[in-house]
């Protein structure tokens, strides 16, 4: 058990590598990449040692090992955090460090170390991928949801930095997305998912008071969560567990690029290929699936609750949806990107219908062969001097034999070539589970729906894999680059071969008992022994074998038999016509989001800014101020000099007459000045009113400052400079005061 005390070291090694590179080793390229590879190498060794000790400790599943410490105070309780190891973590520890190591070694070659056009920010690249490795390893080992969320976001940061690694890159055609925009898009979309997950986490934390998995998945907590009801405004009353599960699933949708937040993954291909392999195939995107697997007891808390439907639907639909788009893509990396989305859909669907073991198994096998495929495509791109369009490739079989054979191994694993590839076993188990569920619950049920979609998706996967192989490797080279393609150096091909080995052999770890007779399905026993083993269903296995082979054959038939000549359009275009253009443009989701969400946010921002600057707060003051000005100028005109004298004299004479018992009769000028007085006031007020209407736009605060100034100017006019007017005002005031008193 000693090994488990070193658990917390695993994420620490790459982090020290990151810190050392950033602080010190930046200028020295050789030092920085060796530091990075050294760091991940140590984690890999420690990881595998932990994995094997875990495998050999008897019934390891019951009591996961936890090392915790108090992190920060919350009211009078403390929030503990720490690392944890249980079967799911163990198998991830087996896969993640190894794949990362392979990709680190690969990227030394890919980034052109030793050649003249080596990337100027070479060491920064290794710093970022080491930080990413820390994030991924930390995520696997976290024993509570908060620490998981923290590493989750650190990975988001690294994916942003790495996608936008070549931020100076500009494309002639404005519509094509540049790395920096792709990075931003990735960060914001995943951030939306993260916020939804944060809300779920907060809801859980406020209800349970603790985020550690052990505490959450204890029976009484799960029972409490399942019982408690919460009413949401539009949705109605739901069990709390379902709401939390769906919210947390939102995070997984964002991170694993499931429909509807899938748009960022294909654009993430703008980043260097090792990044696509590392982040957007093997590890980060599978973190979403890992999260759902980790929270599986919560998902299963409410039997047949709506959350099962949501997860299964999203998974299955994405699987089919993505595979249809993959068929119509010409860029070698885009095809793989969509195939990743579709394979992730597979795993999510599997977890949706309760196939915990099958989902986890497929997660592991998929990481291996998808990483292999991406690295293969990377070496093809380097071989063809950064050519990415499959239409310009062809005939690389002779020129790049190792890449060809490893790529074929990965492709066959992806399409599930029967018996020898890992993909076949893991995908088959999911289909078997779906089939068995379908048998139990009949046609109108999620398992049937999932089985149907996944079967079609399986065929399409095999088809586009076949298409991809024949387009890139078979036939004649269709462009200048393709002719001069050359095999990539050993630092790139060795990882390919190692990954190919695993892509083929890993399946045997999860072969159902019935086939090998005596032994038991090791993977199932180790990971999910509390779940019932899925019985072997021969028809399903046959069906998936047939699908895989026919898909591949059909792909070869269309593209391989009569290899396309240079510049010859894709035969599928003619076959599918308008449907093809829709598929090519990814169902126009990018344009849809751009128009609605992005334009909407910027529009709202413009609106608020105007609101703030010109429309309400400041402007409201000026508007009413303008209105005030009109009123005051109306008053001014009413009070202007000739009128003042008239009025003042009028008041004076009337006042005096009163005081001399009214014997001095009011003379003629008084009457006409009174008449035009009334006329002029009316005109002024109307002019004032339309002024207010016209200039309602300006703000309130300046108005108060401004209005006082206007009133000040108006009162100032009463100070006419003539002492008799002053004396008159005194007399008038006295009379007024006494009158007020009398009337009171």
């Amino acid at each position: 058990m000693f090994m488990f005390n070193l658990l917390w070291l695993i994420p620490l090694f790459p982090f020290t590598a990151f810190v050392l590179i950033v602080l010190g080793a930046n200028p020295n390229k050789k030092l920085s990449h060796s530091l990075a590879i050294g760091g991940i190498g140590l984690s890999w060794i420690l990881g595998w040692l932990t994995f094997f000790t875990a495998v050999f400790t008897p019934h390891f599943g019951e009591h996961p090992v936890r090392l915790t410490f108090d992190w920060f105070p919350t009211g009078n309780t403390w929030f503990e955090t720490g690392v944890m190891i249980d079967p799911l973590t163990a198998i991830m520890l087996f896969m993640v460090p190894f794949v990362c190591l392979m990709i680190f070694i690969y990227s030394v070659g890919y980034m052109g170390y030793g050649t003249e056009h080596v990337d100027p920010r070479y060491s920064r690249f290794f710093a970022y991928i080491s930080l990413f490795a820390t994030g991924m390893l930390g995520l696997i080992l976290a024993d509570n949801l908060l620490l998981l969320f923290i590493f989750w976001e650190i990975m988001g940061l690294c994916s942003y930095l790495l996608i936008g690694f070549w931020f100076e890159k500009k494309y002639p055609d404005p519509r094509q997305i540049t790395p920096k925009q792709a990075g931003l898009k990735a960060f914001i979309t995943t951030r939306i998912g993260d916020v939804i997950m944060l809300l779920g986490m907060l809801f859980l934390y406020s209800r349970v008071g603790n985020l550690t998995f052990e505490h959450i998945f204890s029976h009484e907590t799960l029972h409490m969560l399942a019982e408690a009801q919460v009413t949401l405004p539009l949705v109605g009353t739901l069990p709390v567990a379902t709401v939390i599960a769906i919210l947390i699933f939102g995070g997984a949708v964002g991170k694993s690029a499931q429909f509807p937040l899938h748009v960022w993954l294909p654009d993430a291909m703008e980043g260097p290929t090792p990044v696509s392999a590392l982040i957007h195939a093997a590890t980060m995107v599978s973190a979403g699936v890992y999260l759902v697997a980790r929270m599986f007891p919560l998902f299963a808390a409410v039997e047949h609750g709506p959350q099962v439907g949501v997860v299964a639907f999203i998974g299955a639909f994405t699987a089919l949806f993505a595979s249809t788009i993959a068929v119509a893509q010409n860029d070698i990396k885009k095809v793989l990107a969509y195939s990743t989305i579709s394979q992730l859909g597979y795993m999510i669907a599997a977890l949706g219908i309760g196939a915990y073991v099958a989902g986890a198994f497929h997660l592991i096998t998929h990481s291996f062969f998808k990483a292999l495929l991406f690295l293969g495509s990377g070496s093809v791109i380097i071989g063809c001097h950064h050519e990415q369009d499959m239409m310009h490739m062809g005939g690389l079989r002779q020129k790049m034999p190792i890449t060809f054979w490893t790529f074929v191994a990965g492709a066959f694993a992806l399409s599930g070539f029967p018996l020898i590839t890992a993909g076949f076993w893991s995908k088959d188990e999911i289909l078997a589970h779906a089939w068995e569920g379908f048998m139990h619950e009949g046609v109108v049920s999620w398992p049937f729906y999932v089985w149907l979609l996944l079967t079609i998706a399986a065929f399409l996967t095999a088809f586009y894999t076949g298409r991809q192989i024949s387009l890139t490797f078979l036939g004649q080279p269709r462009s200048h680059h393709a002719e001069h393609a050359h095999e990539t150096p050993h630092s790139m091909t060795v990882p390919l071969m190692l990954l190919a080995f695993f892509a083929l052999t890993l399946g045997f770890a999860g072969i159902p008992e019935e086939i090998i007779g005596h032994g038991r399905n090791w993977f199932h026993h180790f990971v999910g022994h509390e779940f019932a083993a899925t019985p072997l269903s021969v028809p399903v296995m046959l069906l998936s074998a047939v699908l895989a082979v026919s898909g591949l054959f059909f792909g070869w038939l269309v593209y391989g038999r009569k290899p396309l000549a240079k510049g010859q359009p894709d035969p599928l275009v003619k076959a599918l016509g308008p449907v093809h253009t829709v598929l090519k443009n990814k169902y126009y989701f990018d344009e849809l989001y751009q128009a609605t969400v992005v334009r909407g946010a910027i529009g709202l921002a413009e609106l608020f800014f105007k609101f703030d600057n010109r429309w309400v707060i400041d402007p409201l003051v000026n508007a009413v101020g303008r209105g005030g000005a009109a009123l005051a100028s109306g008053l001014y005109r009413f009070f202007d000099l000739p009128v003042i004298d008239g009025a003042v004299n009028l008041a004076g004479k009337v006042g005096v007459a009163l005081s001399v018992a009214l014997f001095h009769f009011v003379d003629m000028p008084i009457i006409d000045s009174a008449v035009n007085l009334v006329g002029r006031t009316g005109a002024a007020l109307s002019a004032a009113w339309d002024w207010i209407d016209l200039h309602i736009v300006d703000g309130l605060v300046n108005f108060s400052g401004w209005f006082t100034e206007r009133v000040g100017r108006a009162f100032r006019l009463i100070q006419t400079g003539r002492v008799q007017n002053y004396a008159l005002v005194v007399v008038a005031a006295l009379i007024l005061l006494v009158a007020v008193y009398l009337l009171r």
């Binding site: 919350t74 969320f149 923290i150």
Partner: protein, 506 residues
């Protein structure tokens, strides 16, 4: 009483101001270095204060009470507790950094500059330490006048308008507060804040006399809300920040905004607890609007400094949300831990925002010194030419958008954790602010300034990476961002005891 630590920290800047005043105007270099060295002493003392503050004892420590104006029962009563210790430290840290930074950037009227700065520093210390209403009000206003001159004399283009707008806004708020202070005085019989916390709601229970107590509460609230600034009273902030000199806007954003929030936590919440919880929904709405509205308006800005100013409105919205949640919880039984967490989050956000936005304004100043323009469209591709500047700006930017592992995340997490449990709808709407914040920081700042291609013809040889003094100014702040991000307990412990004690009393 022992060594009057607080009084020494409080009046040290005044002593410094007098000494600077004696130095003849011509010896600018002497003035600069003297005030930098001078500002280290209160920094050292406030660090000592932090260490010497025994957390277990809790409550007010280092209290000093002298009779100032016995005839009106006004006393010189200073003391610090868990909430004010970090803020006092923040004041000293940001002031020292500002002194250090201005030594290299302020060229005209150096002597007056440092005079006003030291007076401002004294004002800020006074507010965080005083436990007597009149003393609190006196230092609140003392902090106002030097800031007016700092913006007015050393500011940008529209500095006069910004200066007088700042002064008028804050004066209206504080004058309303004066009347409320007098009202409390006549009811409690003395100007002492602690005494008022115990006695006021017994003498004037909210239920019995709703109108006068509400009036007094709203007078206090408006006075503090203008300073925070929360939504309707925020229009002075963008002008004041964009026009203030770099060091001025660092202090303005770093500490002056905290005076309002601190006032709410120290005065409005404890004394008017029933009134505050009765009106907590209004405060909550204002807070949420500030968060979302502020974030969206940031999205539409093209002037970098104005953008960061508006981001302060949005970030201070979190503080208000935390306080509103804590107030709301007073009426809900059984929500003590969530209220404590929300209040912890609010006070931590005050500290974080000071560090992060202070850093952001320094960075704006650095680029402005070289480029003399803050137009976002003018820059591009700086990442390749100014790597360290890009690195530090990215870290500060990410801290501000609340990336976990950096300071910003913890405060937001705690505020939302508390708020979610008490007022879920507000928290959900507020969460939209997080996404938009990520949006405007990455899209507007990182995208336009750092990524993309570097236009040679305009900035050819002109832009050079950060000078050593700029790095030295930024490193302590970046260090704090990481420290709080990785292990927030060292500051949250302090806050936690104070907030739980404060909430327990209500």
């Amino acid at each position: 009483m022992g060594f009057p630590l607080l009084t020494v920290i409080l009046f040290f800047p005044l002593l410094g101001a007098i000494v600077v005043w004696l130095i003849p105007k011509e010896k600018e270099q002497l003035i600069r270095w003297f005030s930098i060295v001078l500002s280290f002493i209160p920094l050292a003392l406030s660090i000592y204060l932090w260490i010497a503050y025994t957390r277990s004892a809790g409550g007010m420590q280092f209290e000093e009470i002298y009779n100032w104006i016995p005839v009106l029962k006004i006393r010189y009563h200073v003391g610090v507790d868990g909430i004010s210790v970090p803020l006092v430290f923040l004041t000293s840290l940001l002031s020292t950094l500002s002194h250090f930074y201005s030594a290299y950037t302020i060229k005209k009227q150096v002597k007056e500059y440092y005079l006003f700065f030291l007076l401002l520093q004294m004002g800020m210390y006074g507010v965080f330490m005083s436990l007597d209403f009149v003393l609190f009000y006196v230092f609140w206003e003392i902090g106002l006048v030097p800031m007016y001159f700092l913006i007015g004399i050393w500011g940008g283009a529209r500095r006069e308008y910004a200066a007088i707008k700042f002064f008028l806004y804050t004066l209206i708020g504080s004058v309303a507060m004066l009347l409320a202070i007098l009202y409390v005085y006549f009811n409690v019989g003395s100007f002492d804040i602690l005494e008022a916390t115990e006695k006021f709601h017994l003498i004037r229970p909210f239920a019995a006399n709703i109108v006068p107590v509400s009036l007094a509460f709203w007078a206090f609230f408006v006075g503090f809300a203008i300073k925070v600034p929360s939504f309707p009273f925020h229009t002075w902030l963008p002008d004041a920040h964009t026009e203030a000199p770099t060091a001025g806007s660092v202090i303005l954003a770093g500490i002056l905004l905290k005076l309002g929030a601190y006032g709410m936590v120290r005065i409005a919440l404890p004394i008017f607890s029933e009134a505050f919880s009765y009106y907590a929904w209004v405060v909550g709405i204002l807070a949420v609007i500030s968060i979302v509205y502020g974030a969206f308006v940031c999205m539409a800005q093209w002037d970098l400094k104005r953008l960061i100013a508006y981001s302060s409105v949005s970030h201070m919205g979190y503080v208000m949300l935390g306080i509103a949640a804590a107030a709301f919880a007073l009426r809900m039984p059984g929500k003590e831990t969530s209220a404590a967490i929300a209040l912890n989050g609010a006070v931590l956000q005050m500290f974080n925002h000071g560090i992060i936005t202070g850093g952001l304004f320094f960075l704006v100043g650095i680029i402005y010194e070289q480029a003399h323009t803050r137009e976002l469209k003018a820059f591009g591709g700086l990442a390749s030419k100014l790597p360290t500047y890009y690195g530090i700006f990215a870290v500060t930017g990410f801290a501000s958008l609340g990336l976990p592992g950096l300071a910003g995340f913890w405060a937001e997490f705690m505020v939302f954790r508390g708020a979610f449990d008490i007022i879920p709808i507000y928290a959900v709407i507020g969460a939209v602010g997080i996404v938009v914040t990520a949006g405007y920081i990455l899209w507007k700042i990182i995208q336009y300034m750092f990524l993309g291609t570097f236009n040679e013809e305009r900035w050819g040889g002109k832009l050079v990476d950060m000078a050593t003094f700029e790095k030295v100014t930024m490193w302590p702040l970046v260090l704090f961002m990481f420290a709080i991000g990785v292990y927030p307990a060292f500051i949250v412990n302090l806050l936690n005891d104070a907030t739980t004690a404060l909430l327990a009393k209500l």
